[in-house]
Symmetry: C2
């Protein structure tokens, strides 16, 4: 058995995700997660990255240095996971590193062209581990007029596609988004789009009513009841009314949105709020998906929202003809999903095969993603 | 015959150097310059790059966009030269791109680690030309504790090494530097170091006395005579006294240095100044090289200084046992040298062979330079 490692460092700065994946060098369909760790970033490093993210506080010298610093951190993260398994880093088949996004500009602005910037120097990772590195996966899709995102749908296609069942990969993070893989689909038939708010309204209400970060297991929501007037107001949101592939941002369902609604409905109880908001979250997803469901269908939920049992139950109720599952039901891991996706992309790069999904990113054609550092 | 293109964009912002080079895909010693152009940068682009170079005026958003903008410019430069020869860009064997250095930090500073940053997105070049790109040549050497510079000595070793003659590649730009390739040398025996001021004192004096940018053909110097007191003062410069491999910067022989000397020697005529400064420039080089000359030796001068006939004649007089030549005497081109060097480096990268010169950069061991974008 050979191993590859996938590295992901998200914009939430939660830490460096490291997935150790079993691969077969010449088999582009076999990927089995062997282990996963998330290496936390120090407060100092989080601060450095935050400064690098903002035009106001960033500069070329700091970015020059931080690119190398993150390279060393990523290499250390690889070593940590390899050490745990008694593996020499140089024995890995390859490392696939997403890098830390410090800027992403999908659309032109005055004086600026569509572009993206990830840092975490691949040459440093290659040098410190003695292993070939594939990196910089978003650039080529943007060069082909794509948005450089999402880049996970390709690995979802490789890992989840079946001949006879439509599968929908439903990610529920702060916002929610879905990848639809028709039964027996070719890559061109894969769709990916946002499906509305994820946990962000629920989390905001938990902070407001309970000073907690989230509704563990959906317990508060389960203890409440639906408020029809509030639900109707939620459902009048322009995002729900939009037809066809949609995109949304944190600002549409953020703190300001929730605070305004709280003022409009001052007499609804905390748990009714949470029940109704959770139901709205489920309905936002189900109304986005419903027109696209075909025949036998499995909805596989990942992300933090997959651990909200009330939300999952509501989703199942809204989509009675769909089998609703979570990643763990299939032996996968929500946490490791993105880092593992890097391995799938990197492996295709090394075989000089495309791995963007033009129907998801808007790219004009399939392209080979990434750069190889020997 | 197959072709590769080398791209170089120097810190002087003179333009984008593009070298079309004949190669044999499986022969790592054959490189023949076919044509060379330098594509000027617009004033607007020069201004953007200057802003990106300085910590005070740079930011992450601008660097994100400029990385892509330069990628498109580099791709256009490739197309321009290919069009001239009726070549399809996709027919090139590969493109090797140095990129625009926006920061180079060979030594740590408080809060910053040794690092380097070149931009000009390789994914954009690959996408726009339909050809594989090798880029980012300096990073890996720095990851191996090298200075990431100089990177030209390897190509000099490949292109100029002979079995029976020691060859010294003497570059005379603003400052001067040399690569010494012993007869029958292995790569480990190659030395590279700074040899003192190049044209910068001469140019500064031309601006002072004649409001011209340089001494064309060395005509002013040829019309003057040596002033021994001034020469003695020049020769007392600490750089000349230093023994062993040296480095120098523009600040050591810059405007301030010249202005102070002008005040000390107010009665020396303009042409005597230029004659003496040119002689000093030659002596700085010859005293650096003399202890290292062995047997039959050819000194091959490149850079702007190679067109200063007085300087070349003085160099020959200072080194009577050495055959002093200029690049053009060997059928090479000073202008195309760095862009052509990229082709040599890129070709070695594609064959997964090292191309740094640890004895020149200080790297702990030979490493494969660059990243490959398919």
């Amino acid at each position: 058995m050979e191993y590859a490692i996938g590295l992901m460092s998200g914009t939430s700065l939660d830490g460096i995700d490291v997935a150790l994946v079993e691969i077969k060098p010449d088999d582009l369909t076999f990927y089995r997660l062997h282990d996963f760790i998330s290496v936390p970033l120090t407060l100092e490093m989080k601060q450095s990255i935050k400064e690098a993210l903002a035009p106001e506080t960033s500069d070329v010298r700091q970015l020059c240095s931080l690119n190398f610093e993150l390279g060393y951190l990523f290499a250390d993260a690889v070593k940590t996971l390899c050490d745990k398994h008694g593996l020499a880093t140089a024995s890995l088949n390859f490392i696939a590193s997403h890098g830390q996004t410090v800027y992403h500009l999908p659309d032109a602005l005055p004086g600026l062209i569509p572009s993206t910037l990830q840092i975490g120097e691949s040459s440093v990772i290659a040098e410190m581990t003695g292993t070939m590195v594939v990196s910089d996966f978003r650039y080529r899709d943007m060069a082909a007029n794509g948005q450089g995102a999402p880049i996970v749908p390709f690995s979802e296609y490789i890992l989840y596609r079946t001949e006879n069942t439509q599968r929908i990969l439903q990610n529920i993070g702060g916002i929610s988004n879905a990848t639809i893989i028709p039964a027996g689909a070719s890559l061109e038939q894969v769709l990916a789009f946002d499906t509305g708010p994820g946990n962000m309204i629920i989390d905001e209400l938990c902070r407001h009513f309970y000073q907690t970060e989230y509704d563990a297991d959906g317990a508060y929501a389960a203890a409440g009841q639906v408020n029809q007037a509030l639900l109707a107001t939620f459902m009048s949101h322009p995002f729900i009314q939009k037809v066809g592939p949609k995109t949304t941002g944190r600002e549409e369902f953020g703190q300001q949105y929730v605070e305004e609604l709280l003022q409009t409905f001052p007499n609804v109880s905390a748990n009714d709020w949470l029940h109704t908001a959770t139901l709205f979250t489920a309905k936002a997803i189900s109304t986005s998906l419903a027109p696209l469901i075909e025949g036998q269908c499995e909805l596989i939920v990942g992300g933090g929202g997959s651990y909200n049992a009330t939300l999952i139950a509501m989703l199942q109720a809204e989509l009675p003809n769909v089998k609703v599952m979570i990643q763990e039901d299939l032996g996968h891991s929500s946490e490791a999903k993105e880092a593992m996706a890097m391995v799938v992309l990197g492996h295709h790069t090394l075989h000089r095969l495309p791995s963007n999904v033009p129907s998801a990113t808007g790219a004009s054609h399939p392209v080979i993603l990434g750069k190889v550092t020997y």
